[in-house]
Symmetry: C2
Subunit: 505 residues, 2 copies
């Protein structure tokens, strides 16, 4: 009899433990928001931009979690989003540029000298056999298979219409609100039905939100309300959930969030920049609303909240106001660039009872690291995946923010033409190891070397002074890209592929 | 120690019993499909129409369940859909006509003599305080609160854009695919992106299906595939589910389902009628695919499947081919009418281990009965609802198809103008009790009496021969409508409300 009792206690506690211990996980992903677009300083000191933007809830989250000052995405959005879902580096999944809403439609601009690299312009796929895609096992699928309630709200943008990845259900999300193949909304305004206007709708009209049509509900707010509704059920059922709340903000079109716009006009910001600042604060309010709701439903103590953005801040002007390539200062350049302004992003992670509140971590991490990190947080061990995972869990850093690994190399690869050339924009690769960063300019087979510790703004090229470091990093970069069979552009005049950085052209 | 063991066994068995015993429930709802649009005869004998249409899976379902030969909906779609969700009669919830996609937009046609009845043209709402709506507790909300995984796929049409009911999540559905405020799709064709075509999209473009854009996937098939995906998770998790699979088929626009079209052309059907027949068979294939999937996932023995349609078959021509008001023969008239052709619908219910396979029930049942029936099937007792429920569970009929209750009265109420007048169409009420049916024509305050047992086609008005029955039914009808404060049209010349059938005008 005693053994039966023991068995029953064991079984019963198994039910309860599983339900109670595994944390809920919220990935709060912002679009095109830069490292400086916040009142929370991620650099050594508070900057002019930190004073411009108001993000009290990011500050609040940082007080409750770990602020990562060296977190990275990729220069444009789809590659980051696919890395988050697959744990693969962009050079490895080969979706190096953003994907078009239509199938078989590379998004590269035409170039005089370079032809298109053989990248996976049909995006990610959870199914085999679709040309020009990467087939991989998606993070939410694994979480769902391990008992998580999985929810996607907002921008998806993992692949074009007519392919499985345009439907978040196919990635293992049980609930989808407003996610498909689009990379930006037609409109953020409820008054414009988010673009759903007979005769004027484009493919970018946001779906699923007809409840808010004709109201003053800004898209950021509508998505927040839908996210709160969606997590209520698993919370009530005591089932752990994974929420991928991927805001369309602060991507273009820049439109004023009326709840905050006047404040920035009054502060002297003009035109597009006042709109942009209002979108930032609207996004921040969403974060606060989510945090408040977790407290109200008494699950804040067991919910991981990860704040991240998918790429550096847009710094083309127009559409931004002001001087181009200055919107992420002291970082150089912006979205589309492999300079820090295009890839370094705000990251804050709250993991109650594990990570020390209010701490700061300087260890560098990158988008593909989220896959193993989130699975480790969820207690999923040895998941079966189609792909080899490149990312590295940053749980050690969460547990001890002083943790350092300077031996690791991060790689960025952008063999594409996104917009007209600009600083660090188009046909570039880069590698960071420790405090050193090497950039390979494919157009001229030129190498630049920067020391990020002394020169965060990447102003002083040390390549000629430090040929051994250049050689070391160039070989490491090329060797890894070669291993991944990373796509490279083609030289139009010869028809040959551009060579990796360690080869003569 | 023994008492602890007992307690643990009790707790543990509680977990297991709840998970195992409660059936999954699928409500397979077809739009605008009539009583004769099937190869499964619901009448006494196989008709010409039964020979025209091919619905092998409806036949198969009937062999495994109970065929109801006297099942009723309302003359148009929204009233039935709201009755299904609330358990209320249409005269009680006061959504007597279909709801517009836009708020505050009654859909009644203009009439020379009658002004608009004060019906709830803003539809159903799960929240308080919205003018011209019915506030009630929705069926899926109760099921969700009782541990069911709740899924909506397809047409919703419970209320207009800008109101909560345009979002199935607000009714307690955890998953929504393609449901909002629209009552029909812009297009059934994947090649036309279900209407999502830049510059040409209307509000009727179907949302959430971008995965199938540009493919030959007919809408019926796309919804089926999404429904199968959605039920996979609760099945794997051994959580009971409720699936509301509400097909847009066979509502207009009539478009050929290419998988079956040629077959009907070859059989000699022409134009719209061949298209219609192909849409019927496409819908039937969906039913078969669902049934096959349940077998494949080994839950067919524990899944209730309810086949139902939301109104009688459309019998206006055009858009149908052939003679108007003949498409439901031997029943009189069609959609929009309170004659049997407009309200009598196919109903088949499979409830494994409870209902005897292959049986036929003649007990009359109506849309609002589904609410208490489904809750009883799900084991939900005494649910709290905002509304008083009018429906009556037909579980007794499921358990014994010979069960009869002739004392019950069913009521239809249509104080609206749907289309130009036709047989039984516009400004009518009706009551059925036993074999007798009384119709109140509001225009002329005329009463018709039919004996459905002898005169299914409602050809022989017995009112003058049987004044006592007329009086009895008229009083029962009026008394109930008065109790519900049912909306009535207004006489334009006097400004007064049309009187109920038991009052002199």
């Amino acid at each position: 009899m005693k053994s039966i009792t023991t068995l029953l206690i064991f079984l019963l506690s198994g039910f309860l433990t599983r339900a109670q211990e595994r944390p809920n996980i919220i990935l709060f992903l912002v679009d095109d928001m830069g490292w400086q677009d916040t009142s929370l300083p991620f650099g050594a000191e508070k900057t002019e931009l930190n004073r411009r933007y108001h993000t009290p809830n990011m500050e609040r989250l940082a007080k409750e979690g770990v602020k990562f000052t060296n977190a990275y995405a990729t220069p444009v959005c789809t590659p980051t989003r696919v890395s988050l879902m697959t744990g693969m580096n962009a050079a490895h999944h080969r979706i190096t540029n953003w994907t078009h809403i239509q199938k078989n439609t590379p998004t590269d601009m035409d170039d005089e000298f370079f032809g298109q690299a053989a990248w996976n312009y049909n995006g990610f796929t959870p199914q085999k056999g679709i040309p020009n895609t990467i087939h991989a096992t998606a993070l939410p699928q694994i979480l769902k298979d391990n008992g998580y309630f999985t929810i996607h709200v907002g921008k998806a943008h993992w692949g074009p219409m007519g392919t499985p990845a345009s439907n978040p259900h196919n990635l293992g999300f049980m609930v989808n609100v407003a996610g498909n193949a689009i990379g930006h909304p037609q409109s953020f305004k409820g008054e414009e039905n988010y673009g759903n206007m007979p005769g004027r709708s484009t493919f970018h009209a946001v779906q699923d939100l007809s409840e808010y049509y004709g109201t003053e509900t800004f898209l950021t707010e509508a998505l927040t309300l839908e996210a709160l509704k969606a997590i209520e059920t698993p919370i009530k059922n005591k089932q752990p959930f994974f929420l991928n709340l991927a805001h369309y903000a602060v991507h273009i079109p820049l439109q004023e969030d009326a709840r905050f716009y006047k404040k920035y006009l009054d502060a002297g910001l003009q035109g597009e920049e006042a709109k942009y600042a209002s979108m930032i604060e609207g996004m921040d309010k969403s974060l606060g609303d989510i945090m408040d709701y977790l407290i109200r439903l008494k699950v804040d103590h067991n919910t991981v909240v990860i704040f991240m953005t998918d790429t550096g801040g847009l710094s083309l002007a127009p559409p931004r106001g002001g001087e181009p390539h200055t919107h992420n200062l002291p970082l150089r350049a912006g979205k589309g660039s492999v300079y820090e302004g295009g890839i370094r992003v705000p990251l804050i992670v709250k993991w109650p009872k594990v990570a020390r509140p209010g701490s700061t971590a300087e260890q560098y991490v990158i988008a593909e690291d989220f896959f193993p990190t989130i699975l480790e947080m969820a207690g999923v061990k040895g998941p079966k995946t189609v792909q080899a995972v490149d990312g590295k869990s940053f749980v050690p850093t969460m547990k001890d923010p002083r943790y350092r690994d300077e031996s690791r190399a991060l790689i960025w690869h952008f063999p594409n033409k996104w917009q007209p050339d600009g600083p660090g924009i188009n046909y570039k690769s880069a590698i960071r190891k420790g405090e050193w960063k090497l950039i390979h300019h494919m157009r001229r087979n030129k190498l630049e070397l920067f020391n990020l510790k002394n020169d965060l703004g990447e102003q002083k090229d040390l390549a000629s002074q430090n040929p051994s470091k250049v050689k070391e990093l160039s070989q490491a970069l090329s060797s890894q890209l070669r291993k991944w069979d990373a796509p490279m552009p083609v030289i139009k005049s010869t028809g040959e592929r551009v060579k990796f950085s360690d080869q003569d052209q």
